[in-house]
Symmetry: C2
Subunit: 236 residues, 2 copies
Amino acid sequence: MNLLLLQSSQINGTEATVTGRQLEHLNSVHQIDEGASVRVGQVNGLMGNGLIKSINTERAVLDINLDTPAPAPIPLKLIMAMPRPKMLRRCLQSISSLGVKEIYLINSKRVEKSFWQTPFLSDEAIQNELILGLEQSRDTILPKFYLRKLFKPFVEDELGDLIKNTKALVAHPSGTNNCPINIQKPTTLVVGPEGGFIPYEIEKLKEVGVEAVTIGPRILRVESAVPALISRLFPG
Amino acid sequence: MNLLLLQSSQINGTEATVTGRQLEHLNSVHQIDEGASVRVGQVNGLMGNGLIKSINTERAVLDINLDTPAPAPIPLKLIMAMPRPKMLRRCLQSISSLGVKEIYLINSKRVEKSFWQTPFLSDEAIQNELILGLEQSRDTILPKFYLRKLFKPFVEDELGDLIKNTKALVAHPSGTNNCPINIQKPTTLVVGPEGGFIPYEIEKLKEVGVEAVTIGPRILRVESAVPALISRLFPG
């Protein structure tokens, strides 16, 4: 936790109250005492410092001063096939920490149906992972998150509008062009499931204007592929 | 498993025998039958195809034809502070899948001493993770792996020689220069522990000629930082 990210419900004027997971972290990992200063931020707001006025096992009270804007978002819409649940949580944290602010989780032929049954897809569980990513990276802007459980309607009815005024790419081993480097303009990136999109899906994506690109001869797991792709497109 | 990676002990002329983990994977995940063709490779050798001559729950026998070289290695020496054990295994797989062929795992003030007690540091455990990474990415060249449990002697006595004729970088939030993009020349990259190297350690690294560089305002976990850094240096 490189930033203590506060919900507006935790803030009253310049005072913030911390309980639960965040309090436990302050007590156990950071071993914070009264008078210590920690980095804080408000969800979708500014960042700054918090002075610990009191702390025990029940709650911490901080005097906060928020004056610094969050880092600039990465201008990327990320559309990702649903990964297996144990990978989903890590991926969401990682994507959130990388500065992506718009995430679509979609279906694909090679996504096992059982993946959609995971409790990690509840609104609260998703938000928790996204917040952990922001706390890791020191950011406050919560990504927007969308579930699209049907591939064809999503691509046919929605994707065309989504990719308007963006460079639209799908990372695919059969892509003949290399993925661009340091693109620095609004981009939509589609990432397939383990085993890749099937040829029909790639064709559907191409029909609406998404270009298949490769990032080299090696096939990466989604948890490595996503940071590699984002870092290549937006080296910052 | 995008490649069935065979040890030379499994190969006799053009015939290969598969048991254990790899057999289980062929049977359960790929549901391979006699007559099917799978991608195979030999550790530190060529890649090609294998025709399944027989398969049951005891063993599979393949007729193999190896004719394709492995993808070119990434000219990078990666020096990484020991991560927490549950992250270590994922990191080794990921690094191996990214095409890195020389990995040093080093100590740092912020590495918990208990991390070094993990059974995942046995030669066999390390090699297993590296092979899983190669099977993921379709590569055959096993990375060289070194443990260095003392920071100061490693930096003072060994690092100077290691970085000779390479661009030597340490990724650090306080780095004033941006990490270079698309460098395409031999590079040594040093990556710190959770919480970062302490100032003394950064000074020691600088003394032998390692430059501190930043990859942007966000602090990434090592499992996202390493693919992001490698992809930025060597977009392929």
